[in-house]
């Protein structure tokens, strides 16, 4: 089930949220601030999640554990 589909799905969701955060904030002294902060937050959080997810889609190495030691813990 290691597919790249979630990346696109979440991207669409995030883009939708970004559009909402552009439209929704009311006119006022904080409109620019709220807009830019929400959009940047969404973009940054998505970017980081996406990188972590994609790096583990098709990993080139596997974790190596010492089962004997870990069984004792």
């Amino acid at each position: 089930m290691a597919s790249i589909f979630p990346v696109w799905l979440v991207l669409v969701v995030v883009l939708g949220l970004m559009a909402a955060s552009w439209i929704l904030p009311k006119k006022g002294p904080n409109q620019t601030l709220v807009r830019s902060s929400l959009m940047l937050t969404l973009a940054c959080c998505y970017l980081m999640w996406m990188i972590a997810y994609m790096a583990q889609l098709h990993p080139l190495i596997a974790p190596r554990h010492n089962l004997a030691v870990e069984a004792k813990e």
Binding site: A2, K27, P29, S36, A55, L60, P63, R64, L67
Partner: protein, 824 residues
């Protein structure tokens, strides 16, 4: 130009507020109150209209001098209060009754204040001098008393010694009560002088006297036990009392002079014991009297100081505010014709109506027909930059302002730093536990900010309080990145099911096997404790750093567009922005695309060996058409360099040819500013404190070429160096997680701690946990946090700002009656 600034309906942090140059005409008698009210409003930054006048020739110099004298008196009071032996409580400004400096009676009240201060000063200095002279007198008496007491020992000692010389005058054994032995008495037996001297100087004095009197003396001394205050130096030292016996008034006067030159003092002693006792009694009586007088003087002085201490903060505040007001008044110009003071200053357009209302109110309070009024001017001068911040954005804006103030109407990087700064911090700091600690440290500062703001804070704590929202956001983002890195105090969370399972046939060292799932949020916990965890993690974090870095720099590059549009440099979008973007993306954007592509392909399933990104540019192919694509991108990148280098100078040369063709000279862009309604033109104030026009195009063509060449080279090289600089996101996060892991392993993770049994084991574990927590907070959160804060700041100041920031503005410092710094 300030005239066509972006004036938005609501204040925004995106760029500076629109500022106007205003001129205020103030009737002279209302000047003081106007300035005070404008100072409380804090919307105008006054321009110095008297730049050519020296400070000593300005109109309000007399007032300032008077204020300085009052300030000197009050400072003297403060030091006297501080020096006094007992603590005198000073009433704080908050609890003192307010001293109003505006209004009809203000002048009179201020003059009364000056008189009061002078009276207090005179009284206090009188009392102080009295006290000091009485103190000196007391010390002298104490010295004489000690000398009398100790000399008894000397005289008694001398009486035991037998006499060797019978032909000489009778010695002391002769109990000659009737003879008063004074130094001037020549017919009596043995003359002497007595005195006291610093113990350390006594040997020198002895030697001096021997030499001076050629051995015709007998000197005896003993030490005074209590330390005495030396009259000359004022210090408490140990003294000796001595007696010098010799013949003749000549020798004795020589001895007396020698003593005085060595800093000793002569004490009148009587040979007769009873007379000495009587003298002692008399001195004791005088000492007691003197002490009583001193005591009452001291207490009167103290009560005087207490009265002063009750009002001293008010006085300091009044004098400080008046000084500010008069310094501002000195900036104004006096219009003799109309008998008004003229002030000029910068004011945000949004606040002009408030200023007008205030001025009208001043006029009404003064019950005058004429009130001060405000006039907007049209000018080409560069206004100061004003970003209207609130308590939340203030911290972030000050971080970016510390580098440079944004040019007037330039894109303000502080707006975006509200999110990017905590985010980049968190990428380097990612740990759920540490993030929670950081957020919890900032939370009380935020929740109780009203109460804390009233306290006067220490200088080391103030930055943390001003940056409380920054720290809070840093903590919250760190919690998020902690979930991504799956790191909580160097342990992992198993929220979802892992994508790896142990192979069925393994024991000892095994490689886990995929089970088809991908850990949906963050790093798979199967990596925790794996031998090769770092191999995977380093690869992940390095690539993450590059991708985030390229994204941040692309974003910063795009901010240029607004600046080019705003400052009427449309062509710069094609000659600067476009080649820069193409160059950057064709190399590093391509790199990021390749990173993401390599991640998205299942190499094992495709049966191909995964290509190394390092070698990608050199030989291997990992997608069809790669060769063609890469060559094209390289060509684009190379083409951008001459594009950046030459396009802009060429355009400028082309335009100048068109303008200079008909042999006109380029118009001078610094015109004198003209009143909107007024016909008369105000003579240009040369080099006022406003910044020259933003871009400054009237340099020679060679300058433009050189400037562009430097800019091109700088950009191309910095592409590489800045991208590599973002690798600190990886480096610091690695260091942080390693430190955290080591700390755990050395404290709580130790076998001996974890498995110790019984009560002692529990206590030991508790102690170790406390120690671990202390080091976590002090070392990992605070120290690592500060270091990470610095790195995140650097990334914003250098890597991001380099792509768009011009930073040639001056900050807006409105006139206010509070202090910016502690210069009182």
């Amino acid at each position: 130009m300030p005239g066509d600034a972006v004036f938005t309906e609501y204040p925004t942090l995106f760029c500076s507020e629109a500022m106007i140059l205003v001129r205020v005409y103030i009737p002279t008698e209302q000047a003081h109150d106007t300035v005070v009210n404008l100072g409380m409003l804090r919307v105008i930054q006054f321009v110095d209209l008297n730049r050519n006048v020296s400070p000593f020739q300005r109109s309000f110099v007399g007032e300032l001098r008077r204020l300085d004298q009052m300030k000197r008196i009050v400072r003297n009071f403060a030091s006297q209060i501080a020096k006094d032996k007992g603590p005198i409580s000073v009433r704080s400004l908050g609890t003192s009754p307010p001293f109003v400096i505006t209004g009809a009676l203000a002048r009179q009240r201020f003059d009364e204040l000056e008189i009061t201060l002078r009276e207090h000063d005179a009284r206090l200095s009188r009392m102080t001098t009295n006290y000091e002279s009485l103190s000196t007198r007391l010390d002298e008496l104490l010295e004489i008393r000690s000398a009398i007491i100790e000399s008894t020992v000397l005289f008694s000692r001398l009486e035991i010694r037998p006499s060797f010389d019978e032909s000489s005058a009778p010695l002391l054994q002769q109990d000659d009560h009737e003879n008063q032995l004074y130094p001037t008495d020549t017919h009596t037996a043995v003359d002497f002088i007595a005195g006291t001297i610093d113990r350390q100087r006594f040997p020198t004095l002895e030697r001096l006297l021997w030499r001076l009197l050629r051995g015709n003396l007998h000197i005896a001394h003993t030490s005074i036990r209590e330390p005495l205050v030396d009259a000359a130096t004022g210090q408490t030292i140990l003294k000796d009392v001595f007696i010098v016996f010799s013949h003749g008034s000549g020798l004795l006067s020589r001895a007396r002079k020698a003593t005085e030159s060595m800093g000793g003092s002569i004490v009148p002693l009587d040979l007769d014991e009873n007379k000495r006792m009587r003298a002692l009694h008399a001195i004791n009586g005088r000492i007691e009297e003197l002490q009583a007088v001193l005591h009452s003087t001291a207490s009167t002085r103290r009560s005087e100081l207490a009265i002063i201490a009750d009002s001293i903060r008010t006085w300091e505040d009044v004098i400080f505010r008046e000084k500010l007001v008069h310094k501002a008044l000195n900036l104004f110009r006096y219009d003799r014709r109309r008998k008004t003071l003229v002030a000029e200053g910068w004011c945000p357009r949004r606040d002009v109506s408030r200023a007008r209302d205030t001025l009208r109110a001043v006029g009404e309070t003064a019950c005058s027909l004429v009130s001060p009024f405000l006039h907007e001017l049209v000018t080409t001068k560069q206004p100061p930059t004003f970003h209207r911040t609130n308590k939340f954005t203030g911290g972030f804006q000050s971080i970016m302002d510390a580098y440079d103030t944004a040019s007037y109407q330039e894109v303000n990087p502080g707006l975006f730093a509200v999110i990017t700064f905590p985010f980049l911090f968190a990428v380097m700091f990612g740990d759920i536990g540490h993030g929670v600690i950081l957020a919890l440290m900032a939370l009380p500062l935020v929740l109780y900010e009203d109460k804390i703001a009233e306290l006067t804070l220490d200088d080391t704590v103030t930055p943390f309080f001003h940056g409380r929202y920054v720290i809070l956001l840093m903590g919250i983002f760190s919690i998020y990145t902690g979930f991504i890195y799956n790191d909580i105090f160097s342990k992992t969370l198993h929220i979802f099911s892992s994508g790896w399972i142990a192979p069925s046939n393994g024991s000892g060292f095994v490689e886990l096997v995929r089970n088809g799932r991908v850990y949906p949020f963050g790093l798979d916990p199967a990596w925790h404790g794996a031998d090769n965890a770092l191999v995977f993690l380093n690869s992940l974090k390095m690539k993450m750093a590059i991708v985030i870095g390229v994204a941040h720099m692309t974003f910063a590059l795009c901010l240029q567009i607004w600046n080019h549009l705003r400052f009427n440099r449309r062509t710069d979008i094609y000659t600067q922005f476009l080649p820069q973007m193409l160059f950057f993306q064709s190399i590093f954007g391509y790199l990021c695309v390749c990173i993401l592509y390599k991640w998205s392909v299942d190499w094992n399933a495709a049966g191909r060996s995964p290509p190394s990104l390092l070698n990608m540019l050199i030989n291997t192919r990992f997608y069809p058409g790669q060769g063609f694509v890469q060559v094209t991108l390289l060509v684009i990148a190379f083409a951008c360099v001459p594009w950046m280098l030459c396009a802009k100078p060429f355009l400028i040369w082309w335009e100048r040819r068109k303008v200079n063709g008909p042999s006109y000279s380029v118009l001078d862009s610094n015109q004198s500013h003209v009143d909107a309604n007024d016909e008369e033109e105000v003579p240009e104030q040369e080099d006022s404190d406003a910044v020259p026009d933003g871009v400054g195009e009237d340099k020679g063509f060679d300058d433009v070429l050189i400037h562009n060449a430097i800019h091109t080279i700088e950009f191309c090289l910095s592409c590489v160096s800045h991208t590599a600089s973002y690798l600190r996101l990886w480096a610091l996060s690695l260091a942080h997680s390693m430190l955290s892991a080591v700390l755990w392993d050395l404290t709580i993770g130790r076998q001996s701690v974890a498995s110790a049994g019984g009560i002692t084991g529990t206590i030991a574990r508790a102690v170790v946990i406390l120690g671990w927590f202390g080091i976590t907070v002090g070392g990992l959160v605070m120290t690592e946090g500060l270091s990470t804060f610095l790195h995140a700041m650097r990334l914003h100041w250098v890597e991001a700002n380099d792509k768009h920031f011009e930073g040639r503005g001056k900050p807006f410092r409105p006139f206010q009656l509070a202090s910016d710094d502690d210069d009182y």
